[in-house]
Subunit: 268 residues, 2 copies
């Protein structure tokens, strides 16, 4: 399958400009599955709840969802990307997975980073796996990387490929995703953004780029620039992730000892 | 506290020579806590069950346990290291934690690598945390690194420092331990060995050295050579691991969503 990542440079709050820039960046690049960053159409470093509310949309029906649907339908592929979702009076930092026939699922970020906790409600459903026919994929968003339970839970449900829209500001994740792939024996596609968001009070966040695809053996198959918008394309065979046998004696998942893991479910 | 790691180069099956070499390597180096590799007195790449059985010992009473006890008692410190443990007709790949007053605990490796599965029974107890007064420590052995549940379980029980005797032959662990520290906000001391074990049939395993201590922020505080026996010494403040607040909004453990992690305990 042809996996394509978009690393864009959104302007805070300028949805139509950002969608047009992504459309231009994608161009006629062929893909089976396209992954866009977290909040790729809105930017990230919001000023206040009113701004987040204005940029939010119900799913389906809003401009970002429509954009993703049109992209998927016109190209006959699948598209994953992040948006501010409004539902039942709450705002969520969500990622959509959209196919040629429409929205397949909405994943609401389970682990909220930094000021996201001021605007968003945390996700209310465990991560789930979706079978696209050519790949079984699981969604996680940005800071979810730091919680090994997310990638592990998706691997245990059969995920071959993690779709990982991100807006990374710390330097750790791109290396840590190698560990996520090694421990679970799967692929991971991290679509990060570049550029700087500046709030009205002058506070800034700089995003770290380096979007990447990691293979089940920990190899970095491709990696984008630190500062520039970019498209990454790579052909992968998701079935490689079905081989969890890392030695003749060792199977990454069968070797687990869940009877000794009870502490992981305790609330602390 | 002064944390010291021993990276030795054992000769397969030559326990008394190996213990003497470790004694010489440690010399008069002061330590509060000394960490030795997995199976540091026996070597690793055994020829057959008879050999493993001959090299095994009950705890307490055997030569490796006595060596560790004498080292701890004579220096007034704590010592951790690996041995072939015999108990109830089974052999275990175990690590001892010994203090000036004697053996504090035996940890039996939960996740057995490669041909270990031919000789050893897997551990029968979840990893536990031990309070040394100046540090709360948790034991894990070598390949346990690949299972995020181990370090996570120890962190949830309050571990500030992972003691990680190892006999690493793959190139992944030294980087992955950075992820283990970042995701759990604790220190990790990996004491690895160097050299090559050669079996009677000529099969060889080369060990990767690079023993190291990683801090809760992912920094590598010290790192040993690839091929040479070596002592590493570093002063750390274990209380740094009690601060899990990585942003004003984010606490590494409190941010977890265990109500959505049920799949981690399923047997698959």
């Amino acid at each position: 399958m042809r996996l394509v990542l978009v690393q864009n440079k959104p302007l805070l709050g300028q949805v139509s400009k950002n969608l047009a820039a992504v459309r231009a960046l994608v161009g006629e690049t062929p893909f089976d599955l396209l992954v866009l960053p977290e909040l790729f159409a809105t930017g990230y470093y919001f000023n206040n709840r009113d701004q987040v509310d204005r940029l939010s949309e119900e799913v389906p029906g809003g401009p970002t969802t429509i954009f993703l649907q049109e992209l998927a339908a016109s190209r006959g592929g699948f598209v994953c990307g992040g948006l501010v979702e409004r539902s039942g009076g709450q705002l969520y930092n969500s990622a959509l997975l959209v196919g040629p026939e429409g929205v397949l699922t909405v994943y609401r970020k389970l682990h909220l980073f930094f000021e996201e906790q001021l605007w968003f409600a945390a996700g209310d459903q465990p991560p789930a796996v979706h079978d696209l026919g050519f790949a079984r994929v699981g969604l996680m968003i940005c800071y979810d990387w730091r919680f090994p339970e997310v990638a592990r839970g998706l691997a245990l449900q059969g995920a071959q490929l993690l779709l990982h829209p991100a807006n990374l500001v710390q330097p750790y994740c791109q290396e840590a995703m190698i560990t996520r792939c090694l421990e679970n024996g799967l692929f991971a596609a991290t679509a990060n953004r570049v550029g700087i968001d500046t709030k009205l009070d002058g506070e800034q966040l700089q995003f770290t780029g380096r979007s990447q695809v990691i293979a089940p053996d920990g190899q970095r198959l491709c990696s984008a620039a630190v500062h520039e918008p970019q498209i990454l394309a790579v052909d992968i065979d998701p079935a490689q992730a079905d081989d969890k046998q890392v030695t003749p004696y060792n199977h990454l998942l069968a070797d687990r000892r869940p009877e000794h893991y009870q502490v992981l479910l305790d609330n602390r």
